[in-house]
Amino acid sequence: MNNTIETRPPKVRIVLKSIAAVLLCLFFIQLLLFTLESVSTNGGEVTKSELIGWCDQSYRERNYPELYEMLTLYDLYDADYDLYWEAVRAYTAYTDVVEWSRAASLGTEGAQKRAQESLATLQNLAAQPAFEQNTSLARQLLEAAQAELSPQENN
């Protein structure tokens, strides 16, 4: 009987297998946690409501560079973001008026025309904004742009 039974316990093998089993178990736990996190955070994707929330915050704070950055960074071109694009367009038109009127005062060719074109864009936006919320912004910017242009015209 002694000859038929191996009396040395396979300790080393068992220890190695235990380590492997524990490591694999930890791997599965981590995988499970990662999957749960991924599912709960929508795979790391920013949700539409979050994006609209961020845009809305920048819009309310009148931080148009940040708004523009958000819109271009996340490629937000569908109709849900038209309100924000209109605000950015109005602000861009205002900055164009400022820039081109200063260029005109330095004698840059065609600058006066560009300033007038940008002013016309701003006037259109102020007169017929696609979104009522943008009316007061467009009007304020238009006034500021006209004030910027007046000294140039007087000169």
């Binding site: 009396t7 396979p10 068992i14 791997f27 599965f28 560079p65 900055t95 081109w100 260029a103």
Partner: protein
């Protein structure tokens, strides 16, 4: 059992007949076997049982490992299948809607909606030689878009704090250089239509650099170089800052 000598009945385990004391060979054999069994039991209790415990643990571990490895293989197969299916679906979608996508990209280009063109090319993974002109334009516009953002930030900071941040000025210098250089390594040869857009963007950034940053001709030449070193960028930012500081 029955005694062979006196014929009395007694248990076969007895060593002698309880009546006539005749030795019982079956009882002797039974005792020997019992002793041997007891020895075996003691040996097993001392030597084999602990080993059996280890062996039982080993068997359990084998099964656990087998299940875990099976799960691992399933996970790997699942991941590979998901990637393969995703890729196939994307490719199938692209091939199926190839004509539509081409039309859509063309329309975005014609309408000068280059931001959307960039987004659509990225989304469909169609950046490449097949759409050379669109891909090139999307990247050219990306540089211009970055300049537009810095430019808006410049105006905004002047309004808010009466001066732009030094970082904004430095970023503007970099963006202006990128637009002027119009260097798109993946699509180096500008197409005719894209060259016209690049020229338009170049004029706009040069006007901005001249009018609002007050760059002089030599500084404009530096900006117009193919490559702008960090030192040159810093020097230009410093020069702008010293000159304007901030009006």
């Amino acid at each position: 059992m029955k005694c062979k000598n006196c014929g009395a009945n007694y248990r076969s385990r007895e060593l002698f007949c309880p009546y006539c004391k005749t030795p019982n060979p079956r009882g002797k054999l039974w005792k020997q076997q019992r002793q041997a069994a007891q020895q075996d039991y003691q040996w097993a209790a001392g030597e084999v049982v602990p080993v059996l415990r280890w062996r039982a643990a080993n068997r359990i571990l084998n099964r656990v490992l087998l299940i875990e490895l099976g799960l691992l293989v399933l996970c790997v197969i699942g991941v590979i299948a998901a990637f393969a299916l995703g890729n196939t679906a994307l490719q199938a979608g692209i091939l199926q809607g190839n004509g539509e996508i081409t039309e859509e990209l063309a329309a975005l280009y014609e309408e000068e909606r280059f931001g959307e063109l960039y987004a659509r090319l990225s989304e469909t993974e169609l950046f490449g030689e097949d759409y050379y002109e669109y891909s090139q334009m999307a990247l050219l516009y990306s540089d211009y878009e970055s300049f537009c953002e810095s430019r808006l930030r410049f105006f905004y900071e002047i309004e808010q704090q009466e001066a732009p941040d030094e970082y904004t000025v430095s970023r503007l210098v970099g963006d202006i250089h990128d637009v002027i250089a119009a260097d798109i390594p993946a699509y180096p040869e500008l197409t005719e239509r894209n060259a016209a857009f690049a020229a338009q963007y170049r004029n706009e950034v040069l006007t901005f650099a001249q009018v609002l940053l007050g760059l002089n001709e030599s500084e404009m030449e530096t900006l117009g170089q193919e490559y702008l070193t960090m030192a040159e960028e810093e020097a230009l930012t410093e020069a702008i800052w010293e000159r304007r500081a901030w009006e």
